[in-house]
């Protein structure tokens, strides 16, 4: 009897309200509730549901006014301009200066690592390989304009061996209130005929830097990586793409937890999108998202990850296209807009709600001055930060796009900025 009474009370939540409620749920809940009733089973295929889902998805940062911070390579040099673009269509442009460590004549391309965290971006000059570095990684607080330099430090290296450093993650450990960096050190044999003793180079090693202790420590783990250099930070973890060591064809999302130093891997199915420049990693509304190009590189798919470590939890939420003349995605997600590099070098954004593609009126120049744009993508960052610079501009929140260090041919950074 009690059960019937309960049922009576529970009935009659109108259908559109049920969909409204469901459209606010995370993917994990939706997958679980797919076994409640058949009409809830294929919600991501249901246009009515998707309309509501998108509505919520886009509404998350509704009241921000978006802008872009753009790093533009100066042709025939290794220098970069830095612009801020803001306004409804990014039509206002303000040029501003790099901080002092990046103003010298000997400074070439400047790269950014991972996401913007608590107003802070991690920038560094191009790393050359060698046995020691004088250069520093700079943590730049865009709000206070405070700079912190991080040394690469001494890396012990056997004779006949040199090393290369690849930075993989910039993150924040909220439990210890500490900023951290992750780097990989690859050891390579010196390519010298005078070298009598051939030594096998050591295996790559991984190190974690803590700003509080101002030191690098060795991590006793093997971590997958690949050459795509997409890095993002989300909720205490640094994420990047990798190949598993036992099967190079097998791609994973690597997620490094900065507080307990545990590495999670999630298998990824590229669905035929194998070229690294045709895909990008991004943070979308507090989830890990990926964008992949398909069908002769005219169509794009966006999936978000429901649960770390679960391949099946990648859920396709957008299909875009066919779009003409689009070369590759930056992977910046901002306020319902996705940024693309076009065939002719123009930077364009695609509004996912209106399905309109619009150029921002800035070309992505390429450093060696040639007209071909190396299609290697720029990895991106999607956290918003406060921005008090330049002083004439009101407080702005920023998203940044970062560049792939090994490809100086492209030098385009995008920061998506939002007034707070």
């Amino acid at each position: 009897m009690a059960a019937t009474k309960d049922e009576k009370v529970s009935t009659n939540i109108p259908h559109d309200l049920v969909f409204n409620i469901l459209s606010k749920l995370p993917i994990k809940s939706l997958k679980r509730f797919s076994c409640i009733t058949p009409s809830w089973a294929d919600l991501f295929e249901n246009p009515n549901f998707m309309t509501m889902y998108y509505h919520n998805f886009f509404r998350k940062n509704d009241h921000d006014t978006s802008s872009i911070l753009l790093k533009q390579g100066i042709p025939d040099t290794y220098k970069d301009n830095l612009f801020m673009l803001y306004g409804e269509r990014f039509e206002n442009k303000v040029k501003f200066d790099w901080p002092p460590p990046f103003q010298g004549n000997d400074i070439g391309c400047i790269y950014k690592l991972g996401s913007i965290i608590n107003d802070t971006i991690c920038v560094y000059p191009r790393i050359s390989c060698g046995t020691q570095f004088d250069q520093k990684v700079i943590l730049w607080n865009l709000s206070s304009n405070e700079l912190k330099g991080i040394r690469y430090g001494y890396v012990p290296c056997p004779p006949g061996i040199h090393f290369m450093i690849a930075l993989h993650g910039f993150g924040y450990d909220k439990f210890t209130n500490d900023y951290k960096l992750i780097r990989r050190i690859d050891y390579l044999q010196d390519n010298s005929f005078w070298n009598d003793v051939r030594v096998d180079p050591p295996m790559p090693s991984w190190e974690l830097y803590s700003l509080k202790s101002n030191s690098w420590k060795k991590l006793d783990v093997e971590i997958p990586y690949d050459e795509s250099y997409d890095h993002v930070y989300l909720n205490g973890m640094c994420h990047w793409w990798g190949c598993t060591t036992y099967n190079e064809e097998e791609s994973v999302l690597v997620s490094f937890n900065l507080s307990d130093e545990v590495v999670y891997t999630t298998l990824v199915d590229w669905n035929g999108c194998h070229a690294t420049q045709n895909r990008a990693l991004m943070v979308m509304n507090d989830s890990i998202g990926m964008i992949t190009m398909h069908e002769g590189n005219t169509c794009f798919e966006i999936s978000i990850l429901g649960e770390l470590g679960v391949k099946e939890s990648w859920t396709k939420i957008f299909k875009i296209g066919p779009l003409s003349c689009v070369a590759y995605p930056f992977g910046v997600w901002y306020k319902g807009k996705i940024f693309f590099h076009k065939d002719d070098g123009e930077i364009a954004w695609f509004d996912l709600s209106t399905r309109v593609l619009e150029e921002i009126g800035i070309k992505g120049y390429n450093h060696n001055g040639s007209s071909t744009i190396n299609p290697k993508p720029i990895s991106l960052v999607t956290n918003r930060i406060l921005f008090k610079h330049p002083p004439s501009t009101p407080q702005l929140a920023v998203n940044f796009v970062m560049h792939f260090p090994s490809f100086p041919a492209i030098s385009q950074y995008i920061l998506v900025v939002a007034r707070s």
Partner: protein, 167 residues
């Protein structure tokens, strides 16, 4: 009391139980159902009492409280956000599951978008980590899967069944 008759500035709403509740036109406007009453030619602000047979006095005053608070705190400053969050938490605290559903019905009947959205989010937050059994009961959904079909779905999405809260 006053001799010169002042134009009445409030709208009178009569819930299915309890006394007439007066609301400002600003608040009434946000309730689409009331708005269409007001726009009707037969509506006279001074005398008309709008009957709300599907809404209790408790539900109506909850909805008015919510609208009052939120129309006064549109600012985005952090301290305002903080106190708004607190208000919202307190607002939901006194609502058991059935009351929450009933309030959702009332907000739906009055067609007040801001409250509807807020309550839908509250329900979503409530059920997010709940079991299939809980949600079926909550929505009064009859299970029309066969045992095999349901088993199959559970197997396919096994990961989504981990970390589910106790009912």
């Amino acid at each position: 009391m006053a001799k010169t008759p002042e134009p009445k500035r409030t709208i009178s709403l009569k819930p299915c139980d309890g006394d007439v509740i007066e609301v400002s036109p600003m608040i009434a406007k946000q309730m689409q159902t009331i708005q269409s009453f007001i726009e009707d030619d037969s509506f006279i602000a001074t005398t008309t009492i709008i009957p709300l047979p599907n809404v209790t006095a408790f539900q109506l005053s909850k909805i008015i409280d919510y609208l009052n608070y939120h129309s006064n705190s549109k600012a985005v400053a952090d301290n305002v956000k903080e106190s708004t969050k607190k208000f919202d938490e307190e607002f939901l605290k006194e609502l058991e599951h059935d009351k929450l559903k009933e309030l959702l019905h009332a907000a739906n009947y009055l067609n007040v978008k801001e409250v509807l959205d807020f309550l839908c989010q509250a329900v979503a937050d409530l059920i997010q980590d709940k079991s299939v059994k809980f949600v079926r009961k909550f929505f009064g959904v009859v299970n029309d899967y066969s045992v095999e079909e349901e088993e199959d779905i559970r197997r396919t999405h096994a990961w989504a069944f981990e970390g589910v809260e106790e009912d």
